[in-house]
């Protein structure tokens, strides 16, 4: 069951402190980095909710993020709605679509689940790409950030916007923790462990999956809104399956189902990408090798490795036998 252990809270506190300190002191390049990390972390938190805790590996979360971005862009520019209602509409729409996908895919397992989410994600991508309303390959420009003049904040300044995104990430983490500790979050973990038994106990499993998928979609949608506001321009590429793939890589790197993994993974990934891309144009090679290494090592990403190592050390110190591995299988969907 999900628990906010001392290690997790401590790591998050450390990361928050580092983020705030860095954001206060760095220049434009650094602020862009922070913003990128925060938005990616939000997307990956959304993914970890269903994949790490629910065992539902999704390749449509990039598309859900794109739905949020496009819905916000259309609402605020084409339909002329004010920013805050546009944001709410975008988040709600992404959540609704995610709910639908979750409901339709609830009966699918393993590789089939991965592929059917991919199918839905691609459907959304093609729809946006080929539809004349959304600007096609050219995308949409002229997106504006929220107007916080009333409280004296100008979100057009990078530092303010970076804090805005960090704040959104903080809210996301609080929301995710709440969901995981609520009844439906407990049920989700139960479903992941033994869906059949949950069914036999009387839980309407498909509905639980749909609800959590919907909540996850809302978070992904919010990430999309922020992404749109960040660059003030969007293109169909946001919905490409490679974005979902990237989110998956990040959560694997950070650690599935560790709660901290998405944030840590996002930070490491973005920083690594910037550093590596400065030295060589072959960033994909590095990503591919890292991914293969992490998966074949059977460790649960960086934070998972830390948690498991500490658990093993402490159980050895207490002279109790280490936990037998159930079935000797890796953590799989």
């Amino acid at each position: 069951m999900f628990r906010l252990t001392g290690l997790r809270l401590g790591t998050l506190a450390l990361l928050s402190a580092a983020a705030v300190a860095y954001t206060l002191s760095t220049g434009f390049a650094g602020l862009e980095l922070v913003t990128e990390i925060a938005i990616l972390a939000m997307l990956v938190v959304a993914l970890d909710l269903v994949a790490g805790f629910g065992g539902m590996v999704s390749l449509c979360h990039g598309a859900l993020m794109g739905v949020g971005a496009y819905a916000f862009a259309m609402a605020s520019t084409a339909a002329g709605m004010p920013v805050l209602p546009s944001m709410m509409l975008a988040v709600g729409l992404a959540g609704a679509i995610a709910w639908l996908i979750g409901a339709l895919c609830a009966g699918s397992q393993g590789i089939y689940f991965i592929m059917v989410t991919l199918a839905f994600g691609q459907m959304a991508y093609s729809f946006v790409f080929e539809s004349p309303f959304f600007g096609g390959d050219d995308g949409l420009a002229g997106i504006s950030r929220p107007d916080l003049d009333l409280i004296g904040i100008d979100l057009n300044r990078s530092r303010a916007f970076a804090f805005y995104c960090l704040g959104a990430l903080a809210i996301t983490l609080l929301a995710a923790a709440h969901i995981l500790r609520s009844g439906i979050g407990r049920a989700l973990v139960g479903i992941r462990d033994n869906e059949r038994r949950m069914q036999a106990l009387g839980q309407t499993v498909w509905l639980t999956k749909a609800h959590v998928f919907g909540l996850s979609g809302m978070i992904a949608g919010l990430a999309g809104v922020l992404a749109a506001q960040h660059v003030m321009y969007i293109s169909p590429g946001l919905l490409a399956w490679t974005v979902s793939g990237e989110a998956l890589v990040v959560v694997i790197l950070g650690g599935l189902g560790t709660f901290v993994g998405p944030v840590l993974g996002a930070a490491v990934f973005v920083v690594l990408r910037h550093e590596v891309s400065a030295i060589t144009p072959y960033w994909h090679l590095v990503v591919g090798l890292i991914l293969i290494a992490v998966v074949m090592s059977r460790a649960n990403g960086i934070f998972g490795f830390v948690e498991d190592s500490l658990a093993r050390l402490s159980s050895r110190r207490r002279h109790t036998p280490a936990e037998p591995v159930v079935d000797g299988e890796t953590r799989d969907a």
Binding site: M1, I184, G190, D193, R197, L201, G202, Q203, T204, P324
Partner: protein, 247 residues
């Protein structure tokens, strides 16, 4: 409490369940026996809701549940335990029981409160653990406890939903004779308002626990009565032991 009428099931050309009827009163302990291939498992799955009958009805406390799904029947008070341990291996014993109790009270759907922390859920966990001697293991992960404890927990999950009827599929499967006896004792000492229907291979359990015995052979009911009558039935001896008459 449980009224089964004329249940019939074919798998292709094989007639697995033939016109099976039985009636359980509230609080009754019924054991279903039968040689391999008699159709006990199919009957069990029909009652639980995992497969649909070709004909016949099932009524729970007067309500027709024939068309209802597994989850729907569970919510109406029909719990089941599995022959092969179907537990939440990655969770602790307490969390297992807590989940079961939460699902039953509908609190495992809430987005507001933590079902595992609720008073009524914790109370149920305590009670069931107490009754099944699981209390010392509450904080142990299921994957680390012994088979016997897991078998107890298997029944515990069903109990934690506070059902009216529990359908048990070979509850002592895999348990050695020493433990089996205390298991029978545990089953016999369950609250008297709980109705039990047990599918079993083990004769000892049948005679220790049952109020009534139903015997299946080739998909149909061949005996329905008291344990003593079963013990002395020539028909049953023939079914189980075969006869030495010339073919």
């Amino acid at each position: 409490m449980l009224d089964v009428r004329g249940l019939d099931k074919h798998f292709g050309a094989i007639h697995v369940t033939r016109d099976v009827s039985l009636k359980l009163e509230k609080g009754e302990r019924r054991v279903i026996l039968g040689p391999n291939g008699a159709g006990k498992t199919t009957l069990f799955n029909l009652l639980v809701g995992e497969i649909a009958p070709d004909a016949g009805t099932i009524e729970l406390a007067g309500r027709d549940i024939t068309a209802l799904s597994v989850a729907q029947r569970a919510r109406l008070g029909l719990a089941r335990s599995y022959q092969k341990n179907t537990l939440f291996d990655g969770l602790t014993v307490a969390e297992n029981l807590g989940l079961a109790a939460s699902v039953a009270t509908g609190t495992a759907r809430s987005i507001l409160r933590d079902c595992l922390g609720l008073g009524e859920v914790r109370e149920t966990v305590r009670e069931v653990a107490d009754r099944l001697h699981l209390t010392p293991h509450l904080d142990d992960r299921v994957s680390t406890v012994s088979y016997g404890i897991r078998r107890q927990l298997e029944v515990g999950l069903a109990l934690a939903t506070r059902p009216d009827v529990i359908l048990m599929d070979e509850p002592t499967s895999g348990i050695g004779p020493e433990m089996a006896h205390s298991f029978h004792h545990m089953l016999a000492s369950l609250p008297r308002d709980l109705t039990l229907l047990i599918v079993e291979h083990d004769m000892d359990l049948a005679f220790d626990v049952a109020d009534t015995i139903t015997v299946l052979n080739y998909g149909e009911v061949v005996f329905d009565g008291l344990p003593d009558a079963a013990r002395s039935s020539a028909l049953l001896k023939e079914i189980y032991l075969g006869s030495w008459e010339d073919a």
